[in-house]
Every structure is written in structure tokens, then in C-alpha cells.
Amino acid sequence: MSVLEARGLSFEAGGRRLVAGASFRLAPGTLTMLIGPNGSGKSSLLRLALGLLPPSAGSATIDGAEVRSLSPAARARKVAYLPQTRPLAWPVPVRDVIALGRFAHGVAPGRLAADDARAVARAIAACRLAGLEDRAADTLSGGELARVHLARALAAEAPLLVADEPVAALDPLYQHEVAALFARAARAGHGVLTVMHDLALAARYADRLLWMKDGAIVADGTVEDTMTPARLADVFGVAARIDRSADGLALAVTGPA
């Protein structure tokens, strides 16, 4: 199992500091959720951690190796990345989109070795996409397409999984299914990091929360330890009620702070 480590990552664009000295460690077996208001630098931090953006300071390593020194394929075999969903350029069938998840293993759509075909089948089953394999991607609903992208990321079967708002377009049922899927992947030993906008979902499923504000990580810890009304007011500017019960912590946002 692999470990992704970010140390003091900073990034500037157009004279503005988007990420300021962010450090975290993504360990196997934990579901970490990155939360923070719009424009707090969450997506940029993910890209920096994956080596897709050159940091202006700091470094990110996977199992001790600089991410920027890894070849794109070697990096992709360590960490699957699910960026915010964009429309596909061509109306390719669902099966081919998911097969692209095996790209770093040398796969091209239509040419899958037995191992790759099995990984694709497992991802299709996990995301409940059976029956949609031959549909053209442009005929899917937003939620279906989001699950196809998720299946694509899962098909990589990489030790680490990094996702940027994977549940943004989903119905409540699928939001919970996807969050549970991530939790299951973490139980199975993967290190999972995902940006999450839905705070209730984060409170319900995350093992660990990274709180981000103005490009900096302002808190890092378990839901129990870090989710407080004061921090919600500070980071998100909202007033919230937090109820602790036997099955965890329930969050109700009541209005602006």
C-alpha cells in the first residue's frame, strides 16, 4: 500500500496565492475528505499533490519518490485521479470510458487483457452500471455519467484514489452510495482523498477531515475532533447545530453565521 505525502505545498497564479504551505499525509486505509468554501484552493491542492501543477514551494511524494519525477504512467499506477466531471469529447460507449482507467497499464479501448477486463467488470459492478456498458456516454444522465467516471477511476485499482467533488451531480441515494464506496475502498486498504462539498456527508463518512481556508489547511483531524460550530463559522461562515448520537455525528446548517 502506498502513501502520498505533501509538504509545504504552495502555488501562485497571477500574483495571487492559491495554496499556501499545505501539508498532509494520505495513509492507506483512511478516507480523508478535503472541505472548504469555493475558491479556497482545494482543486489546486489536489493537482499539486499529484504533480499535475508545478508548486512554487514545497514538495509531494508518493512512497518517497517526488511525484514530478515519476512518469505520468508510473504515477497513474500509484494514484487514480478523478477530476471534476467534464463532458466527453466523443460519444464513446460506457465500457470504453471505463477501460481508459486501465490506460497506465497499457490498455487501449477495445484491447483489454484478461486482468484488465476483470478490473473493468469489478468497477462496473461496484458502481452499479451493469446494463449501461454499451450506451453512448452522451445519452447518460449527469448522475450516470458521474458514476461512469468514478468506475473509470476505480478500474485503475491503484492503491491511492484522489477525487474532486465526485458526488456533485448525484441524487442523495447515489451520493451516499458513492461515499460508502469510498469508505469501503478505504477499509480495503486504499488511501482515499476526496474533495467534498456536502458537510453532512463528510461528517457521516470521513475518517479524517482536512479543513481548507484561503489556500491553507487550518485543521486536520477526525470528524469528532475538528467539526465544531466555531470552526464551521470560521471556515464556512455558517451557523450549524451538531448532534452527537450513537451512530455518529449529525450536522444541520441553520443559516449564515
Binding site: 505520468p72 477530476p83 466523443w90 464513446v92 470510458v97
Partner: protein, 327 residues
């Protein structure tokens, strides 16, 4: 599915080339053509087949294949069904460089001068378009840059024509602008072939990355695509192949749009599997169009590029109107 498409298109192309050997100002019987191909039969038939019709048909096929594959690859890279060597100004720039060489009488200094000039023009244009694509990130801007590049090349071409020292040079240049494979010899083919083969090889070697780009650039990088290398390979491959095509036939437009557009549904819209059938269909289209050009009873022979534009431009407008530019 893809393999069957390729085999069918390959068979049709072989049939098309054979048809091109049969038909012409004097129709030959299939038996006579087969005999001439085996270097038997009447001397006149051997001459017609080997000196005139076969090189011409093969030139049309090579040009069509180069443009079809370049179009498909550029569309995959830029994720736009309207990207094509003609629309992006690559053909026009290659033709301009070639004309330049003709104008100053440099073409006589060596057999590779003309193809090299065309390839240099094509590469210069693909690099420019590639840079524009990176900066603009908008399909509309990209097409507009291509139109600007085309117009500028056309303007410089018009300038050269305006200054043409004699009617022969002018006629040469008009041929180059309109596009034709008339009177091509095996020597011409041999001089363009290395660039064609190299370009096609580069494109085929990098085609897997085109499938990755279906997801968009960020996700493509995420699944392990080396984006820089991919861009470079497509620009280099398309530039070499288009340059080779232009050095043989001048600027012939729209093949690179029409061919990929027609075969795309047959390969599940996969931009990687699109390359080979696009090349085969592009070749078939130009071989058939050239037969049409030779058979039409016009006083002056129609130029192949004119026919391609007459058919291709409405198709371009149709794809654009159906929202091809919106992506």
C-alpha cells in the same frame, strides 16, 4: 468491428485503384490491365498503366490517406470534429512554401527540395495552431486562427501569383493552389513517400493517447498520458503526412473532415481506432474523385482539389451547423 471496417475499406480501396486503371480517356479491359500490371500484353497498355494511371491513382490514394489520418489525429488531439489540415491552414501554408520554392526556381536544385519545403510549411502551421490551441482552449478561437492562417497564406500566394514572371509559372502555381494529381510519376511518389511513412508511423505510434484525450486533458493526464509528448507526436505526425500530401498534390481540402466523420460511428467514436479507417476512406474518396475528374467531359480537366472542396465544404458547414463547434 474495427477490423472488419478496415478490411472492407481496404478491399474497396484496392477495387477503386483497379477501377482507376480501367477507366480513362481510353477504357482498358480488365484482362488488358492485369496483363499490363504483370508487364505483359501490349506495350501501349503497359505504358498507360505503369506510367500514367497507376502512379496517378497511388498518388491520389497516398494524399487521401495522409489527409484522412491527419484530420482524424488532429480532431482527436483538439477534441473537435472540425479540426483538419485544410481548415487549420496547414495545407495552405504547405502549399505556400512549395509555391515559394517553385517561384524562385529552387525546385530544380534537388528532388527533395519541394517535399521538404511543403513539409516545413505544414510543420510551421501545425506548430502555430498547436500553440494557439494551448492558449485559447476554445474550439472557435482555434478554427478562427486556422482561417486567419489560411487567409494569410492565400494572400501571400496571391502576391506570388501577382508577381509571377511568366504564364508558365503562373499556371504551375494555380495547379498548386487548386490541387491535382495529374501527371504524377513514381519518382514524385518516391520523394513524398518517406515523409508520408514517417508521419503515419508517428501518428499510429501515438494513437492510444488520443483515446485518453476523450476524457479531457486533465483527466487524460490523470490516467497516465504524457500530454506534452502526445501533442508533439500529433503535431509532428500530422505535419509530416500533410506536407507529403501537399508536395504531391497541392492543397486539397476537406478530405480530413469528411473521411473521419463518416467512419467515426463504425469504430465506436474512439479517436484511436479512427486513424486507420479514416486513412483508408480518405484514400478511397480521392481515388474515386480522381476517376470522376478524368471522366468528366469538360474542356479543361477539373482539378481534384476543386471537386473535393465542392463536396467537402457543404459537409463542413453541415457538421458545424449541427453543433460541432460547441465542444
Amino acid at each position: 468491428m474495427t477490423a472488419r471496417t478496415n478490411i472492407a475499406l481496404g478491399a474497396l480501396l484496392a477495387g477503386g485503384i483497379f477501377l482507376a486503371l480501367l477507366l480513362g480517356s481510353v477504357a482498358l479491359a480488365p484482362g488488358a490491365v492485369l496483363g499490363a500490371l504483370a508487364l505483359g500484353g501490349e506495350a501501349g497498355d503497359v505504358l498507360v498503366v505503369w506510367q500514367i494511371r497507376l502512379p496517378r491513382a497511388l498518388a491520389a490514394a497516398m494524399v487521401g490517406a495522409a489527409l484522412g489520418m491527419s484530420g482524424a489525429a488532429l480532431q482527436g488531439l483538439l477534441r473537435n470534429p472540425l479540426a483538419e489540415p485544410g481548415i487549420l491552414g496547414v495545407s495552405a501554408t504547405a502549399a505556400l512554401f512549395a509555391t515559394f520554392v517553385l517561384f524562385f526556381g529552387l525546385a530544380g536544385t534537388g528532388p527533395l527540395v519541394l517535399p521538404l519545403a511543403a513539409v516545413a510549411g505544414a510543420l510551421a502551421a501545425t506548430v502555430l495552431v498547436g500553440i494557439a490551441a494551448l492558449r485559447a482552449r476554445s474550439a472557435v478561437t482555434l478554427i478562427l486562427v486556422g482561417i486567419g492562417l489560411s487567409s494569410f497564406s492565400a494572400a501571400l500566394m496571391a502576391l506570388l501569383m501577382n508577381l509571377a514572371p511568366n504564364p508558365f509559372t503562373l499556371a504551375d502555381m494555380i495547379n498548386w493552389t487548386l490541387g491535382t494529381v495529374a501527371n504524377r510519376s513514381f519518382a514524385d511518389l518516391a520523394h513524398a513517400a518517406p515523409f508520408f511513412v514517417l508521419g503515419v508511423a508517428v501518428l499510429l505510434a501515438s494513437r492510444r493517447g488520443l483515446a485518453a484525450l476523450t476524457l479531457g486533458e486533465e483527466a487524460a493526464e490523470g490516467i497516465g498520458l504524457d500530454l506534452r509528448r502526445q501533442r508533439l507526436a500529433v503535431i509532428l505526425g500530422a505535419g509530416l503526412a500533410t506536407g507529403a500530401a501537399v508536395s504531391l498534390a497541392g492543397a486539397i481540402g476537406f478530405v480530413g473532415i469528411v473521411a473521419p466523420h463518416l467512419v467515426r460511428p463504425l469504430v465506436g467514436h474512439d479517436p484511436a481506432r479512427l486513424l486507420v479507417p479514416s486513412a483508408l476512406l480518405g484514400a478511397l474518396v480521392l481515388v474515386l474523385a480522381d476517376i470522376g475528374v478524368r471522366l468528366l467531359p469538360t474542356d479543361a480537366e477539373l482539378r481534384l482539389g476543386v471537386v473535393a472542396a465542392l463536396v467537402g465544404a457543404p459537409v463542413f458547414a453541415w457538421i458545424a451547423a449541427r453543433g460541432g463547434l460547441s465542444r
